[in-house]
């Protein structure tokens, strides 16, 4: 897209530079900075506008929206929190009961993070550091299941959970999330353990520390940034997930997650768009707040493996 704009026009070659490529160079160097800023501005707009729109509609009244749908300005006088009231108040009060759903989502997300970390930290450490039989096969297994379509396991899991009574329970949902996030978590943590010099651990081993002592006292504290990043990523996946929540929990309103509750909300015609947008804000805000608080960790942790290609 940039190339066509920066090709030098024929008359420009008549300028003092006899070498045409020098002119081209000059034109590119003059034009590209502008192109760059336009690109940045467009990308930021494309990213931010939908979220702004979400927020905007959530505080407008539905009549206002229908009368003037093209208005993108927030008039402080007209701000209405009715949509939020309706979303958050309990179903017995005629609301949508999202507070319960938030609690459910929080429970599932936290449970998933704790269990995933508890099993993937040791697993990642072992795969990164310790030599044992089957180590390579295990890495291959994780990569394999990571790439595996979740729709395929969705059907049998649906059946199995229905049988053992885990369908419709938050515990069952958390178990699925744990299994789905383990491969990524192990990958991220392992990449980080690989960068910690072994000499530190060897010194502690020589001082008479046991292997588990070394992990607890040396490796874990050093891997803290990566553990944080992994926790955040897992939390994000668990909070945002939709397919399994829909499959497992749809029958029992008290156990819905926020994502599922919002999706169900859109199915009923009598719910106005403003309420839907207020629900979207309720769903989005916690995860975005968490993201901005911890962005640095996450960005580094996620792209840690990128250099290796």
């Amino acid at each position: 897209m940039v190339a066509t704009q920066s090709r030098p026009a024929p008359e420009k070659t008549r300028s003092s530079d006899r070498d045409p490529s020098l002119t081209r160079d000059r034109v590119e160097r003059a034009v590209l900075p502008y192109v760059r800023w336009i690109v940045i501005a467009l990308l930021v707009l494309a990213s931010v506008v939908p979220f702004y729109y979400m927020l905007l509609l959530s505080v407008r009244s539905i009549q206002d929206l229908l009368l003037d749908p093209g208005n993108l300005a927030i008039n402080p006088v007209d701000i209405s929190v009715d949509a939020y009231k309706q979303v958050l108040s309990s179903t017995s009060n005629g609301g949508q009961g999202f507070l319960t759903l938030i609690r459910n989502s929080l429970l599932v997300a936290l449970g998933t993070v704790v269990i995933t970390l508890a099993v993937s930290i040791p697993g990642a450490y072992a795969v990164s550091r310790l030599v044992f039989k089957g180590r390579r096969q295990i890495s291959a297994l994780f990569l394999g299941v990571y790439l595996f379509p979740s729709v395929v396991v969705a059907v049998p899991l649906f059946v199995i959970f229905a049988r053992v009574g885990l369908r419709g329970s938050l515990v069952g949902l958390a178990i699925v999330y744990v299994a789905q996030t383990i491969p990524v978590a192990v990958y991220m943590l392992r990449g980080y353990f690989d960068t910690i010099p072994t000499s530190l651990e060897e010194a502690a081993l020589l001082d008479g520390c046991s292997r588990f002592g070394v992990i607890r006292r040396v490796s874990l504290p050093l891997a803290m940034p990566s553990i944080m990043a992994t926790a955040l990523y897992v939390c994000m996946i668990a909070w945002n997930e939709f397919l399994f929540a829909l499959l497992f929990l749809v029958q029992d309103r008290d156990r819905w997650t926020v994502s599922l509750g919002l999706a169900q909300l859109s199915g009923s015609i009598e719910v106005p768009t403003t309420v839907l947008m207020a629900g979207s804000v309720v769903l989005t805000l916690p995860i975005i707040a968490l993201f901005f608080l911890t962005e640095r960790f996450l960005v580094e942790g996620l792209s840690a493996g990128a250099e290796k290609g």
């Binding site: 729109y53 999706a263 804000v281």
Partner: protein
């Protein structure tokens, strides 16, 4: 001394096995066993009603596959899936590349820009899908309102409910949601590129675009290939985006949405499994071809 080393190694091996066991166990129980079972169900005749009696073994039959291959719905869903996956994957990588190049050199507010760019990727799919459907709504969506007011559209465009635009819109949505992922990886890779070669090329008279073409792009290509593989695999079996935007209507039904419909509305567990297994097989074939191609390409250069 050698004796002690040996025992340390043995102890490490034992520790390794015990540390890795929980992860392997969970992955096997919750992913691997269900996957094998899915394959087995695909070869049996099981509906949601008689699911109680379903097991690993039973009356194996090829009927489900025959049925799947004979239904026109499956072939169009597969075609839609391929179209959707190629469009969204290349789109997100291209936009991600442009974004990474634009944000490459430091400037004031770069960290904020990076954070804002990542928003679509971080936000929950249900919420962003609803914002998009609302924005694109023909009656009160801002896009159609502005389009008719400022861009001279003669009438509102029902982006998500007419055949000519629905698939494209879904692809644009997917590109929007996943270009940050490509951006993140390509930025990390760009950071690792040394500036020396580019400076040398500049001295030799290479223009910025020539530098990109001959110096940066070759270094970014391996990352782009990995990204393409990852995004392709994930998008190929993606369910929520299409389901939430169109419900699979207007020519956007992809295989995963079809699997879901077969399971929940037709209650045909076996047909659902058969389609899911075929989906996975197509992916495996793709991965093998892709691996071969990269290896050949690497061997050539």
């Amino acid at each position: 001394m050698p004796n002690r080393r040996l025992t340390l190694r043995q102890r490490d091996a034992r520790a390794g096995v015990s540390l890795v066991t929980p992860t392997v166990l969970i992955v096997c129980l919750v992913l691997l066993v269900p996957m094998l079972w899915a394959i087995s169900i695909a070869f049996q005749d099981i509906k949601l009603i008689n699911i109680r009696y379903a097991g690993f073994f039973g009356q194996y039959t090829l009927d489900n596959f025959v049925e799947v291959f004979q239904s026109s719905g499956f072939w169009s869903a597969l075609w839609n899936t391929v179209l959707y996956t190629f469009g969204a994957t290349t789109g997100s990588i291209l936009v991600g590349l442009i974004a990474a190049l634009a944000v490459r050199r430091p400037f004031k507010g770069r960290a904020i820009v990076r954070g804002l760019i990542l928003l679509p990727y971080v936000a929950p799919v249900v919420a962003v899908a609803f914002v998009w459907t609302t924005m694109l709504n023909p009656q009160f969506g801002v896009v159609n309102n502005w389009g008719t007011r400022f861009l001279g559209w003669s009438e509102a465009i029902p982006f998500l409910s007419q055949h000519s635009t629905a698939m494209l819109t879904v692809i644009v949505f997917e590109t929007w949601r996943y270009y940050p992922f490509a951006f993140l990886f390509l930025m990390a890779r760009l950071q690792a590129v040394s500036k020396d070669t580019e400076e040398a090329a500049h001295v030799d008279g290479a223009t910025p675009l020539q530098q990109f073409r001959h110096i940066l792009l070759p270094q970014l290509l391996p990352t782009m290939v990995v990204l393409f593989t990852l995004r392709f695999v994930f998008t190929f079996s993606k369910f929520d985006d299409v389901y939430l935007l169109t419900g699979g209507g207007s020519g956007t039904e992809v295989v995963s949405v079809r699997v879901f419909e077969l399971l929940t509305s037709r209650k045909d567990v076996s047909a659902a499994c058969a389609q899911a297994v075929i989906l996975a097989l197509v992916l495996v074939v793709f991965l093998v071809i892709q691996r071969r191609a990269t290896r050949r390409w690497n061997g050539d250069s």
